[in-house]
Symmetry: C2
Subunit: 278 residues, 2 copies
């Protein structure tokens, strides 16, 4: 692992790191904020998964998480959203919602994506091992959050590893990829026609199929331009109600899909995570 840059911030260290990933067969960059802490302390880890078009840098620059993480004693890790670099296939037309910047947190099974697009294994296995080895992280206390496509990632990963992530929350998540254009395009091309695989990467289907969490927190802007077609939080609400899955869905009047929305509710979601991380 190579240190690309470190910055002192809010009493801690914001770093950017790079490593050769065996999962994606590319170099991968990621950001980690380590708050001020006592020598030898091990701190809980919050995973933040980003949305379409993002790298690790968007939330690092615009997410306004460092003050809260410093106060609450949380490490925050922000991975990239896809493999990148020479030889990594991209959407033929360079679409923003597929390929580079749009890994959708799945292990692709279809050609030509399967060789590099392995963001599920990267985020749930390879990168956690790296974080455990190089940072003062207490891997027994992890939680996960994300925005939009990253909200989809946080929900599906959280629902798949309920024993590992003590808190799961999201900002404006894609909750039902199998039912909306962004998700149908991505799952169809990454996973092909294997609808059982789709269900493992669809929060709605996972809950229908029995996955459960102690709690689930979602903030959603009411003025979000993607609300009705791509996000559809009402579907999550209905499925949670019928499955008995606790859900706190906070509709936020006036807020859109941007980091102005994410940064507004970041500290509050982090405090909710900190309570559950002990």
């Amino acid at each position: 692992m190579e240190t690309v840059a470190t910055y002192r911030a809010h009493g801690g260290t914001q770093g950017v790191y790079r490593h050769a990933s065996t999962e994606t067969r590319t170099d991968m960059s990621f950001a980690v904020f380590v708050p001020p802490h006592a020598e030898g302390a091990r701190l809980p880890v919050v995973w933040y998964l980003s949305g379409l078009t993002c790298t690790h840098a968007n939330v690092m620059e615009k997410g306004e998480y460092r003050r809260a993480c410093a106060e609450l004693g949380l490490i925050l890790v922000a991975p990239d959203t896809s493999p990148r670099g020479e030889g990594v296939p991209d959407d033929a037309e360079g679409a923003y919602d597929f390929g580079l910047g749009a890994g959708f947190y799945v292990d692709a099974t279809e050609a030509p994506w399967a060789a590099n697009y392995r963001m599920w294994s990267y985020v749930t296995a390879e990168l956690p091992a790296l974080v455990a080895a190089h940072f003062p992280a207490d891997m027994a206390r992890q939680s996960i959050m994300g925005h939009s496509m990253g909200g989809h990632g946080a929900l599906t990963i959280g629902l798949s590893f309920p024993e590992r992530y003590r808190a799961i929350s999201a900002f404006a998540p894609i909750v039902a990829p199998a039912l909306v254009p962004w998700g149908r395009k991505a799952l169809g091309r990454y996973l092909g026609e294997d609808k059982a695989a789709w269900r493992r990467h669809d929060a709605l289907a996972l809950i229908e199929d029995g996955a459960r969490l102690p709690a689930l927190l979602v903030d959603q802007g009411e003025a979000d331009q993607f609300l009705r077609e791509q996000l559809r939080p009402e579907l999550l609400e209905t499925v949670c109600a019928s499955a008995g899955q606790p859900l706190t869905l906070r509709m936020q009047p006036g807020y859109d899909h941007s980091y102005y929305f994410v940064s507004t509710f970041m500290a509050d979601q982090l405090a909710w995570h900190a309570e559950r991380l002990g």
Copy 2:
């Protein structure tokens, strides 16, 4: 004045606006955050002046000021750092420290800069009138802060209008432009050899020449890459001590010149402003 975009954030409104400036003879963009407030209320205004290469957008995205402004009831205005657009002259080699993005908050008197580079009058007269007309601003309660070149702007403007700005602070300011490379280049080309004009745009000289403020707050990173050659806070410390000008200079161990530094101390500086803005 045209509204380019508005975003709901921290309960208030982050806007970007554009207008045809009579001072710069160009369109100028600026950012304003208006915190949540009671109908009809008039709120104090904090001016934030940005550093070299910045537009209004840098602090808007990375400055982490909205939460504090919302809690403290402060409007924050972030102007651009120079005129821009067709016909505006720039450094012949496109240097980052002169011309576009580097107006140095002076009214240029030398050709070809004099026609457009009028950031002093723009920031102290034209833009305040626009803000007073279009926002719920109490112009009897203004303060000013800035970063690097914008710290230079905040100090020189604050020292020149002590009756107008109730609080003046800076992050890593250029305190003595007449003595350092960035400043000598800019003042020399914008103002020519008129050393009396230089003194009016040099915080150190203004204090030597009798300007005084009730208080002055400066945060400076000790790991700032520009500390020794361009910023030289020790010069300000010496002049303030000999002039009896109160100064709180906080050297911040480990911090560099970036927005990771600015955002760390932003809330604290804003609270200091709010105390003085009543």
